[in-house]
């Protein structure tokens, strides 16, 4: 990493950029928890000497966007950083989803690592723009000053990018992934229907069955479903049990929609009213 004076300059620049980002997102009246979280993170970043790393990540993400390549997601624990969120590096709000910055810090063992997902077919374009050699795998790694940056190509992002291009080219709205509302009931209906073929990561038989049973209706619940589906079976059983308890009486909507159980409910309701 840099000298003490360059570190101080980086600290100051990061703070200034984060404050500008907070102003853009929250206006002048940001809530106390927003200011506290940002101060907490900036203090830790300063203590660890990571400000230059954060700025390098920001510069990399901007360079990718500048050549017209959309950012898909930031896997790993990066979404736990509020600083990344206000910098525009990630589009997941850690306050909204109760994500720990400490999980992000401690995972890295003193070395700042960052991974970003982009459309697969753009991988070598991005590698060239960032001065890295072409890759034949799905990941391009860049060693920056104190930062390891991984750029991962995902085909689902190719599909999303191509779809959005077609929507606008054929007279539809000009959409960005970030514009997509995270609470669309029809999308959750599809995911919970058990017939969501083609819905990336959730289209396997086990995932479809699990979504039908868990019936997630929010992004947080969908994230739990995702984690369960990607875990081994014992964890799935435990987590499903947990989900049952969390959801309480609303558990098992799919089963209750069946004609038999609806008839049973009607019968039960009429017997109660009598």
């Amino acid at each position: 990493m840099g000298t003490e004076s360059t570190d101080r300059t980086a600290d100051s620049e990061l703070r200034k950029t984060c404050e500008a980002g907070t102003l853009r997102l929250y206006g002048t009246d940001s809530a106390a928890n927003v200011r506290e979280r940002l101060e907490h993170e900036l203090a830790l970043i300063e203590e660890l000497g990571w400000a230059r790393g954060f700025l390098t990540v920001l510069a990399t993400v901007r360079a990718i966007r500048d050549i017209g390549v959309p950012i898909g997601s930031t896997p790993g624990s990066s979404a736990g950083s509020f600083a990344y969120y206000v910098l525009g590096v990630t589009d997941v709000d850690p306050l909204e989803h109760d994500l720990l910055f400490e999980r992000f810090l401690l995972e890295h063992d003193g070395v700042l690592k960052f991974t970003v997902d982009i459309p697969f077919r753009r991988l070598n374009l991005v590698a060239a723009a960032l001065g890295a050699p072409p890759v034949s795998t799905s990941v391009c790694r860049i060693e920056a000053d104190g930062v390891t940056i991984g750029i991962r190509g995902l085909e689902v992002l190719d599909r999303n990018e191509a779809t959005l291009a077609k929507v606008s080219a054929e007279g539809g709205p000009v959409l960005r992934l970030a514009d997509i509302p995270a609470d669309d009931p029809q999308t959750y209906d599809l995911l919970c229907s058990g017939s969501n073929f083609g819905a990336y990561w959730f289209d396997t038989l086990s995932a479809r069955r699990m979504l039908r049973d868990l019936h997630p209706r929010t992004l947080d619940q969908l994230a739990v479903a995702f984690a369960i589906n990607r875990s081994y079976f014992p964890a799935q059983a435990q987590a499903q049990d947990l989900m049952k308890r969390v959801r309480g009486r609303t558990w098992g909507l799919g089963a209750r929609h069946s004609p038999t159980s609806r008839a049973q409910r009607a019968a039960s309701s009429s017997s109660r009213s009598r």
Binding site: R103, V156, Y200, W201, A223, F226, Y232, P234, Q238
Partner: protein, 320 residues
């Protein structure tokens, strides 16, 4: 981590040590942290029983893949967005999938277009697809596997005939025109459309396959050979691409799919990999054909069934 912090009074560093110890199966470290957890819980006013229960719940994660919450939220958001596009822009999603099928990638050379296709600009235009999306309903993908000459195609033909006789519109994709058992068996059957729509699953246009004449639909793919000229793949894990393609066709056509897959094709994939583990997640039922007796009875093993049954049995095939 959050549970250890809330109940055991751990700070973030202790909670992360616990996460690592559980993840890596470090019994000694876990045990030591367990003592610290119980002490912290007692200090926090938790009853011994409640703290024990919490510790057991945390310990149940040991040795399992446990996702960080931020990782899960980030990737779930990406999957949700893809589903959103499939719901609100299904035609464009289908066109994008078709366009990508023609795009070369490091592990996939892309499907070559014929001169006519290139001239007509076929592939990747929403207008080429004109998919109608009825309300979602149950769709099933049935995979029929086995070596050549074991009756797989005859089985698919029998199912197709039966479906057509029951008023179902059946579209069959054959491997090559007029040189395939399915073509010969079914071309003259009323209600069944047989056509060469390319060697690859992803080349099928649903509007080309179905006319809308039937009240229900069935899609049959005969002989999905997995040599490199068909799948275009050099990696075993890309069996999943086939699974996804089958699922996608089912999704686009909102219909059940029967796919017949030869497993003795002289290609690198079938020598090195068993396709079943890779395709299982994408199929609702898998039937392996193992041989045909003198009486035209095919021996089959049901590997996976939507009814949960499995085992060996025989089926009688018509016209084999």
């Amino acid at each position: 981590m959050r549970a250890a912090m809330l109940v055991g009074g751990f700070d973030a560093e202790q909670a992360n040590r616990l996460r690592r110890a559980l993840d890596k199966g470090q019994a000694e470290e876990t045990s030591q942290l367990g003592v610290e957890f119980m002490t912290g819980a007692e200090r926090g006013g938790y009853a011994r029983d409640a703290a024990d229960l919490a510790w057991q719940a945390i310990g149940a994660c040991a040795g399992n893949v446990v996702f960080g919450r931020s990782h899960a939220v980030s990737l779930a958001l990406m999957a949700y967005r893809h589903a959103y596009l499939a719901v609100h822009y299904p035609v464009e999603v289908a066109a994008a999938a078709e366009e990508l099928a023609f795009t070369p990638r490091p592990w996939f050379p892309g499907i070559p277009r014929t001169e006519e296709e290139t001239a007509a600009g076929v592939g990747g235009r929403s207008a080429d697809l004109a998919v109608l999306v009825p309300p979602p309903r149950a769709m099933e993908v049935v995979l029929v596997v086995g070596p050549r000459g074991t009756g797989k195609t005859s089985y698919a033909c029998a199912v197709a005939s039966e479906a057509a006789a029951a008023g179902c519109e059946v579209a069959c994709r054959t491997f090559s025109p007029f040189a395939d058992e399915m073509d010969l068996s079914l071309a003259a059957t009323p209600g069944i459309r047989v056509g060469l729509v390319g060697e690859r699953v992803s080349e099928l246009s649903v509007d080309e396959a179905f006319t809308g004449a039937g009240s229900r639909r069935l899609l049959v793919f005969d002989r999905i050979d997995l040599d490199e000229s068909v799948l275009g793949s050099t990696r075993g894990t890309d069996w999943n691409d086939l699974g996804r393609a089958l699922s996608l066709q089912s999704y686009l056509g909102y219909c059940p799919v029967i796919a017949v897959l030869d497993t003795d094709t002289p290609d690198t994939h079938t020598r090195r990999f068993d396709p079943i583990p890779y395709l299982e997640g994408y199929c609702d039922a898998i039937i392996r054909f193992t041989g045909v007796g003198a009486e035209g009875e095919a021996a089959i093993t049901v590997i996976k069934s939507r009814h949960g049954s499995s085992g060996e049995t025989t089926v009688r095939l018509q016209g084999f």
